[in-house]
């Protein structure tokens, strides 16, 4: 089956990762917009972010989720609040929670437990999976993104019994379920983002996690035909116009170079280009342009 949007949206969970600054938030929001447009009840989940989605949507997004557009809910997952929610689910008494977990010593202890925040954040997504048709996770950048995906299996192997064990096992099973979960990696046509994307794909493979789609963002196509390029090559470059064109051609060359590099390195992963936008602003309208471009490529 050809890879397309309906295949992407047929599953329950899309986890979007990639190096910092490659446009993960834009892509996550664009995918969520498309799913919501198709009438799917969609949740866009940021993890402990500084409010990037809030800025793009011009809405205050926090914890718990709220409806921001028709069929589209958004949440900024707070590790602390999801921990509280999780523990309350287990012990049922708010008073007891307060007495125990708001104790200063216990709080510092909790803070010192490695990976607990990550486990609780991904656990919140796990707990929400049945409330939505689709959840799009704007995951943290590569390195942190990997530990987020890794922590459930580490805890599941360390904890022998009890609800935490069941919880971690459940999350880990969801992440490894190819029928429900897919990972989308976003990258740019630049050396470092491509290197990181390839490294992350190797790590995902090692963890047996399903990488389903690569998105090459800010792709530039040469505006010139071969003849025009030849003509341009014979001109003096001294003018700003000439220099701008040289830069554009150089960026288009790099786009082509890294496109091929990614294709060669990961021949089995579908790869989609997202065009560079020459807009001074980047707001919801621009995200919509990205969404339309994705929809066109993934018909």
């Amino acid at each position: 089956m050809k890879f397309n949007l309906s295949k992407l949206f047929a599953k329950k969970l899309i986890i979007v990762s990639g190096k910092g600054g490659v446009g993960k938030t834009t892509v996550s929001l664009a995918l969520a917009l498309l799913a919501a447009e198709q009438g799917k009840k969609t949740l866009l989940a940021e993890i402990n972010s500084e409010g990037q989605v809030s800025q793009l949507l011009n809405e205050d997004i926090g914890y718990p989720e709220r409806e921001v557009l028709p069929h589209l809910w958004a949440i900024n997952i707070s590790p602390k609040l999801s921990f509280e929610e999780y523990v309350l689910m287990q012990i049922k008494f708010k008073g007891l929670y307060k007495a125990v977990f708001e104790n200063k010593f216990v709080r510092y202890f909790i803070e010192a437990i490695p990976g607990l925040g990550d486990l609780m954040s991904i656990g919140k997504i796990y707990a929400s999976v049945n409330n939505y048709d689709l959840i799009v996770v704007d995951a943290p950048a590569t390195g942190h993104g990997v530990s987020l995906l890794q922590v459930p299996s580490i805890v599941a192997s360390a904890v022998k019994v009890g609800p935490l064990k069941t919880h971690s096992d459940g999350i880990d099973r969801l992440l490894h379920d190819e029928n429900k979960t897919q990972i989308v990696l976003v990258t740019l046509p630049e050396e470092m983002p491509v290197t990181e994307a390839l490294e992350m794909s190797a790590q995902l493979q090692k963890m047996a996690l399903p990488l389903e789609l690569l998105l090459l963002n800010q792709f530039r196509t040469s505006p010139l035909t071969t003849d025009e390029a030849e003509e341009f090559g014979s001109l003096p470059v001294g003018s700003p116009q000439g220099k701008a064109m040289s830069l554009e051609l150089a960026r288009a060359d790099l786009s082509e170079l890294y496109l091929n590099q990614l294709k060669n390195a990961l021949p089995e992963v579908p790869l989609v280009k997202i065009p560079f936008l020459y807009t001074p602003e980047f707001k919801l309208a621009e995200v919509q342009v990205v969404a339309d471009a994705l929809a066109k490529e993934l018909l």
Binding site: E50, P140, G162, M192, P223, L235
Partner: protein
């Protein structure tokens, strides 16, 4: 930039992910080396970006000298390995070989030390402190972790101090406490309740392992605590300057402004903004008379130039905004380059804009 931070011996480059922090940090170290200094750039990134930027195949967490720098200057580069720095700290501060071995062999420690709250940030600071103490370098440039949470790395020493000085390790996590339910009867009522809840959530076996790890770590934490405090003070010294790196894109600029406010709040020394990948050279409206040129090419040149002008205007307003905020402090614009910057030649080219 010449006069402004020559007297500083440590430069910390901060900024959001993907703005070119690593490249510019390397450029600053290179600049120092070409001025005859002995410089080093420390990077924390797990994806080994600096290695790429310097054309090195691998970086270890020991300094390596970058080849091809004309004397008398020298440039070193080092990639920080969080786990190894942590291991080294444990080796250094463990009260005995037995304790050290127990920590290093603790299964949870092996999996989780790199995930410990703020540990990446803390280790960066720790290594910075070590290198500074050794006193081998005239200039140390630190490339900070690509954190979403702006200045986590500034909080890191404090966070460690909190964990070590207030943690329940003092009264709650005595080694062996979780070994079985036997001990519980002897405990105060409050902690009995807490323990029961923890048991219900995760089971004693896991908690035992966890408590062993944390209490083993605690056994060398007094040295650690002192260290965190020294790092905290080091960052506030006058010779430590903070460079904020951004691109002209709105989100990155917002982050840079946030960082700037934090730097004020934390009483740190701000050096200036570096705005990377700017198009401002294309602001000019001036037309150009091409010798003889086809209509289609001419039109395409115009369209493309118009696109670049739009980006140039965006970049200019970002720069103006940052200038307004930073007042008299310097701001450097680095034009978008024709090629990826990953070797000494391209770093040297960038150097001219600083």
């Amino acid at each position: 930039m010449k006069k402004n931070h020559n007297h500083k011996q440590i430069l910390v480059c901060a900024g959001s992910g993907g703005v070119g922090k690593t490249t510019l940090a390397a450029t600053l170290a290179l600049r120092g080396a070409l001025e005859g200094k002995k410089s080093i750039v420390l990077t924390i990134d797990p994806a080994k970006r600096l290695a790429t930027a310097l054309g090195l195949s691998s970086l270890t967490d020991e300094p390596a000298t970058v080849a091809g720098i004309p004397g008398p200057g020298q440039m070193d580069a080092m990639m920080l390995d969080t786990k190894r720095t942590f291991d080294r700290l444990i080796e250094k501060y463990s009260p005995s070989t037995a304790v050290r071995e127990r920590i290093l062999n603790n299964r949870l420690y092996q999996h989780m030390s790199s995930m410990m709250a703020g540990s990446q940030e803390y280790m960066a600071m720790e290594r910075l402190y070590e290198i500074d103490q050794q006193g081998d370098y005239d200039l140390i440039v630190l490339d900070t972790p690509p954190t979403r949470h702006a200045l986590d790395f500034l909080e890191a020493p404090k966070k460690m101090m909190n964990i070590t000085s207030h943690s329940l390790l003092q009264w709650f996590l005595k080694p062996g406490l979780f070994a079985g339910r036997v001990g519980i009867g002897f405990l105060r009522k409050g902690s009995e309740k807490i323990l029961a809840i923890f048991d219900q959530l995760a089971g004693f076996a896991f908690l035992y392992e966890l408590s062993e790890m944390l209490s083993l770590i605690e056994s060398f934490l007094s040295g650690f605590h002192e260290r965190a405090e020294s790092v905290y003070h080091l960052l506030r010294e006058k010779r430590v300057g903070f460079v904020l790196v951004t691109t002209p894109q709105e989100m990155a600029v917002q982050d840079a402004l946030y960082f700037y406010r934090m730097i004020q709040e934390y009483d740190l020394h701000f050096v200036g903004f570096m705005v990377n990948r700017v198009h401002t050279e294309f602001l000019s409206e001036e037309g150009f008379r091409w010798p003889k040129i086809s209509d289609t090419l001419s039109r395409k040149l115009e369209v493309n130039y118009h696109n670049y002008q739009k980006l140039a205007e965006r970049d200019q307003s970002a720069i103006n905004l940052l200038k307004k905020v930073s007042k008299k402090k310097p701001l450097w614009g680095i034009p978008l380059q024709l090629k990826d910057v990953h070797d000494l030649d391209s770093l040297t080219k960038i150097k001219q804009y600083l």
